[in-house]
């Protein structure tokens, strides 16, 4: 009996290790991409280009310990240096000696030098904020490079884009929610002709891809002068997010207990009063869940901004500026990593501080059509 119990315990421990080990592996796999970007955004321009970001961790690397001139050696024949024997070409590649050293000939045959290297623990951890300075500043910025030299560069001015993103995202979140909440209340607690037809429209449009609307709306905007204005982008995001918002808030608001509303009516309150004083406060959880979704969606949106803001440099949002950077400076990883992280800061804060609402919204069906 006791033997069997012991076996059971061991089995449990193995399954515990298996479950957590495998989970750990997947979590690491999922986190590495973001982590690599985060680390790289703090590395110097030169480091990013010459070595992988994972070298910030302690690792063994060949480090030069000695350097001298090759005196009395004939590079055109087989040589023996510090216990290593080989031709010039072999020394150029580096020859390892039995005692763990590596001998290299650096430079050409006539004026080269001999370097003795040893494997040592090292890490490439020179962190800097220069990348962030460079992407955020509007005007010219003086950057001190790794070798101490100074360079004056015109900043990428992502601060401006960040502010634009805020100016687009906040109203684009609040406006559709307000409009949707009014409509949801109307559908749930008012009777009027056309109610069914209107709701069918809402449900039918839930999954319609917004691509279908871009061109006609753009034509309207050009006619109305709304192209490239914040108002135009807000309205577009409102239009594309409204069906889902109305549907979700309807589900929530129609589920509120009937007697609360009835007693308010008996007290003589109007629909407007009930909505503002009673329904909105009661719906805060649903409003918050959807708000997070809409905010993240708008903040991270690229297509809608691309179409309706277009080439107006001054109004461009973060995602547009980033995509531009990928196009124009695709190999400048010090800028791309810092820029990408600037665009991620706010969503990540929202995400971590309001995760509960986020999950609740997902479970309620906050997935855009």
């Amino acid at each position: 009996m006791s033997l069997k119990l012991g076996g059971h315990k061991r089995e449990q421990r193995i399954s515990f290790l298996l479950v957590n080990g495998f989970l750990f592996l997947l979590v690491v796999l999922w986190s590495i991409p973001t982590f690599g970007l985060f680390v790289s955004s703090f590395r110097t321009k030169e480091d990013i280009q010459s070595s992988g970001w994972w070298l910030i961790f302690p690792h063994k690397e060949w480090v030069m310990t000695e350097e001298f001139k090759p005196e009395g050696l004939d590079p055109n024949s087989v040589m023996t240096i510090e216990g290593a024997t080989g031709t010039f070409e072999e020394f150029r590649e580096g020859i390892e000696t039995p005692d763990g050293k590596r001998i290299r000939w650096v430079g050409n045959k006539r004026r080269g030098k001999i370097q003795v290297e040893e494997q040592k623990w090292t890490m490439k951890a020179n962190f800097t904020l220069a990348n962030y300075e460079e992407v955020l500043t509007g005007g010219e910025v003086k950057i001190t490079r790794a070798d101490g030299s100074e360079e004056v560069i015109k900043g990428e001015n992502l601060t401006n884009a960040f502010l634009n993103s805020l100016a687009v995202a906040i109203p684009s979140t609040v406006i559709p929610i307000l409009i949707a909440a009014f409509a949801a209340y109307g559908f749930a607690w008012m009777r009027f002709s056309g109610r069914k037809l209107f709701f069918v429209i809402v449900v039918a449009l839930l999954v319609v891809p917004l691509q279908i609307a871009l061109v006609p709306i753009l034509r309207d905007y050009v006619r109305l002068g709304l192209n490239g204005t914040f108002l135009g982008v807000w309205l577009a995001h409102t239009g594309f997010g409204l069906a889902l918002a109305t549907y979700l808030l309807y589900n929530y608001i129609s589920g509120l207990p009937r007697d609360i509303l009835e007693s308010a009516f008996i007290d003589g309150a109007s629909h407007f009063t009930i909505f503002v004083r009673l329904i909105l406060p009661l719906s805060v959880p649903a409003l918050a869940s959807f708000a997070i979704f809409q905010f993240l969606w708008v903040w991270n949106d690229y297509l809608v901004a691309l179409i309706f803001i277009g080439e107006k440099q001054d109004v461009k949002v973060l995602t547009m500026r980033l995509a531009d950077l990928v196009g124009s400076r695709g190999a400048d990883w010090h800028l791309l990593t810092a820029g990408a992280f600037v665009s991620m800061v706010l969503p990540l804060i929202v995400f971590f501080s309001l995760q509960r609402y986020f999950v609740r919204g997902l479970l309620a069906g906050s997935v855009k059509g």
């Binding site: 399954s15 479950v19 989970l23 997947l26 986190s31 991409p33 973001t34 690599g36 970007l37 010459s50 070595s51 992988g52 994972w54 502010l163 805020l166 609040v174 409009i179 949707a180 409509a183 008012m190 009027f192 109610r195 429209i201 809402v202 039918a204 449009l205 839930l206 891809p209 691509q211 279908i212 061109v215 006609p216 914040f230 108002l231 309205l235 409102t238 239009g239 594309f240 409204l242 069906a243 109305t246 309150a269 109007s270 407007f272 009063t273 009673l278 991270n300 690229y302 297509l303 995602t319 980033l322 995509a323 990928v326 990883w333 791309l336 990408a340 665009s343 990540l348 479970l363 997935v367």
Partner: protein, 378 residues
């Protein structure tokens, strides 16, 4: 909950006893309010728009003003419309008030989605400059020209691989996390990519796929691993078509697994414990329990998640634009729509691609409407 009567209605309600003069005054007051508030709303609206368009104030001032103006303006418009309607005789109020509540939402939906759908269909029946009617020629082109057909092959790859792997990984992680002590942390980290924009994700993965010449150290993680294992560095998103698409699809799997995981996790927690206990007592292995009990029990959720990811993947745009710009045979429907319409200025063909996107989601729309028809209250 205290229910104070609305202040405006209070002022405006004529009392029975105040006589004719009083009633006239009350009526005038009602009219005044009914006019003044909408007028004020209009004025704020127009002034705000002017300020934003012409001002050269510092950026943060403009941003602040626009946020207050945009959010406050909409609230004010509702207040104005409601004030007008409530100033009318009660019968009219009851008749019109629902449209104040529901009207704006429906009007915006009709303007922004319903009518544009038909307008886009209409444009898709004309030639590249929207001048001559060509019937279904654009659609015929899409389904017969080889370079355009690649688009559909790619979208199919996105849907099949993207949805399948996101569902598999999501399910796997949900089951593992359910049995782990580190459930919260693990789930948060898997979930985190959902907060990242596609453009940001594109940069993250471009960095992983970065390729350098073999003579210098690789700075992209994938090529560094390949070189460490003795291979040659490669431009992953550019070579060996069509499999280079898979390197883009990985990104959507990375982003969507968190979504799948959250829904599966909730569904798994909904399985009654007695059911699992009974199976264990009967000697079922964990693997049997997974396939015979858990999967059938959460099948509905699996279908929902898969459908959602399919719809989502169908419209994929940003990732392709940022990673390859649609080169190297990675074009998808949404990027073709953009390219044909905005780059090639072929309005007919571009619109036809957008219509195809809508056709692809029609079954889901039909399903939603059928469920609505079954619902009570409508």
């Amino acid at each position: 909950m205290t229910n104070k009567p609305p202040p405006i209605a209070e002022v405006a309600h004529p009392e029975e006893s105040i006589g004719l003069v009083g009633r006239v005054l009350a009526f005038l007051l009602r009219v005044l309010i009914a006019v003044a508030i909408p007028a004020l709303a209009m004025a704020v609206f127009i002034l705000g728009f002017r300020f934003l368009r012409e001002s050269d104030a510092p950026k943060f001032v403009i941003v602040l003003v626009s946020i207050v103006w945009g959010v406050g303006g909409v609230g004010l418009l509702y207040l104005a419309a409601n004030t007008m309607v409530e100033a009318l005789p009660d019968r009219w109020t009851a008749l019109l008030q629902p449209y104040v509540f529901v009207g704006p939402a429906v009007a915006i939906l009709v303007w922004y989605l319903l009518i544009p759908t038909f307008r886009t269909i209409y444009i898709s029946l004309f030639d590249r400059s929207s001048e001559n009617f060509v019937g279904l020629q654009n659609y015929i082109d899409i389904f017969t020209q080889r370079d355009l057909l690649i688009t559909f092959r790619n979208n199919l790859m996105w849907i099949v691989f993207g949805a399948t792997f996101a569902v598999i990984f999501g399910l796997l992680i949900a089951v593992l996390a359910d049995r782990s002590k580190f459930e919260r942390t693990a789930k948060a980290l898997i979930f985190l990519p959902m907060a990242i924009s596609f453009v940001g994700a594109g940069i993250i993965w471009n960095f992983i796929y970065e390729v350098k010449d073999i003579s210098v150290p690789q700075i992209g993680l994938l090529n560094a691993i390949v070189v460490a294992l003795g291979g040659e560095p490669r431009a992953w998103t550019a070579t060996v078509q069509p499999w280079n698409n898979l390197f883009l699809i990985v990104i959507v799997i990375w982003l969507q697994t968190g979504f799948a995981m959250v829904l599966f996790s909730a569904a798994l927690k909904g399985i009654p414990d007695d059911l699992l206990e009974a199976a264990r007592v009967d000697g079922a292995s964990e693997i049997q329990i997974f396939f015979r009990i858990m999967i059938p029990y959460i099948m509905g959720t699996i279908i929902t998640v898969a459908t959602t990811i399919v719809i989502f993947t169908l419209k994929i745009f940003d990732i392709v634009i940022v990673m390859t710009g649609g080169q190297f045979g990675t074009e998808v429907i949404a990027t073709q729509f953009y390219r044909q319409y905005f780059t090639n200025r072929n309005f007919g063909l571009g619109s036809a691609f957008a219509v195809i996107l809508v056709l692809a989601v029609l079954p889901v729309m039909a399903y939603n409407l059928r469920r609505l028809a079954e619902e009570e209250g409508f």
